[in-house]
Subunit: 187 residues, 2 copies
Amino acid sequence: MPKGRANAGRLSADDWIQAGYAILADDGLEALKLDRLCTRLGVTKGSFYWHFADMAAYRSALAHAWAQLHDRDRRHFADLGHLTPRARLSQMMASLLGERQWTLERAMREWARTDPAVAESVRAADHRVLDAVRHAFADAGFDADEADMRANSVFAAGIGFLHLSDAPPGARMDAQRERFLDLMLTR
Amino acid sequence: MPKGRANAGRLSADDWIQAGYAILADDGLEALKLDRLCTRLGVTKGSFYWHFADMAAYRSALAHAWAQLHDRDRRHFADLGHLTPRARLSQMMASLLGERQWTLERAMREWARTDPAVAESVRAADHRVLDAVRHAFADAGFDADEADMRANSVFAAGIGFLHLSDAPPGARMDAQRERFLDLMLTR
DNA sequence: ACCTGAACACCGTTCAAGT
DNA sequence: ACCTGAACACCGTTCAAGT
């Protein structure tokens, strides 16, 4: 019985990751303290250091696992080929901003600033999305150069919306984003 | 002789602020430690606590001072009225992203996430810029609703560009941003 | 009014010892 | 192989005492 979660006493590295997600989602970045993790898992600090070299390594592991989740979530962007480019862009925007794991997404981007390993995970994840966005513009009939410029702009706007909103975006903003996409698709 | 800087031994609150700017600009957010500040100013920690209640209060003061600098820097946005709306937008973009105090700007936005007082300063500063951007679109002949939507989008894209760039933006990105503005001004 | 010095609490890290 | 327990270093905070 491998891969079972927390069977009996002993923990796996993944148990620590899951606990980290939960804390981040509940109370944000600054709540992710060693003590907090230990209480939640019912072990002492020493246990942590058997699984991870230090906090930096743990964050890297968390980020790496997150990037994989992220990729799985966005894998279906590729399967969106049957939709019109316009519909695809709309889907992607919504999926970025409507994120139930909205607070996770932002936590990762903050860490990325100070932690190179996390930065690499985020960059890789971003790259995939940017590719999909660029692809949509190419399918909409723009040449490579024009598609690149428009994709960068739309992606930047998406990230900007993410950072500017204190709460998950409301209906009014949703409508504005749709009109923004219309604009970006005019030639 | 009031307002003199660090005349002889005694410090003013502003001396602490200036030291904070210097550290942030040199080595970023996580370098701003009490010890670091004290060594730089040649005093002990106790001195800090005479001027500020705690680190949170100090950060608020820093943010507030920054917001005033920010406003002074952007005050001339208003004096830009003689320029064409297009030129004004270009100026504002460049001024946001070309910022010599680029690392300060990002530090403030990161704090804003956890510190309500800092958040207020940043929001106020953002509000001014957004107003100027919206005004430019209104002057370009868009009705209030359309100007609002376009201003929000351009502003979000600006913030997004800011967060996505690891280094100050290069020439290629500059060109893409100009083309993006052209697009946003088409009707 | 402004600062020192010493104490304390919090939290990440180490490590010898346990099962 | 996985964890405990106790120690330590780092850093923010307090406060009585100095000038």
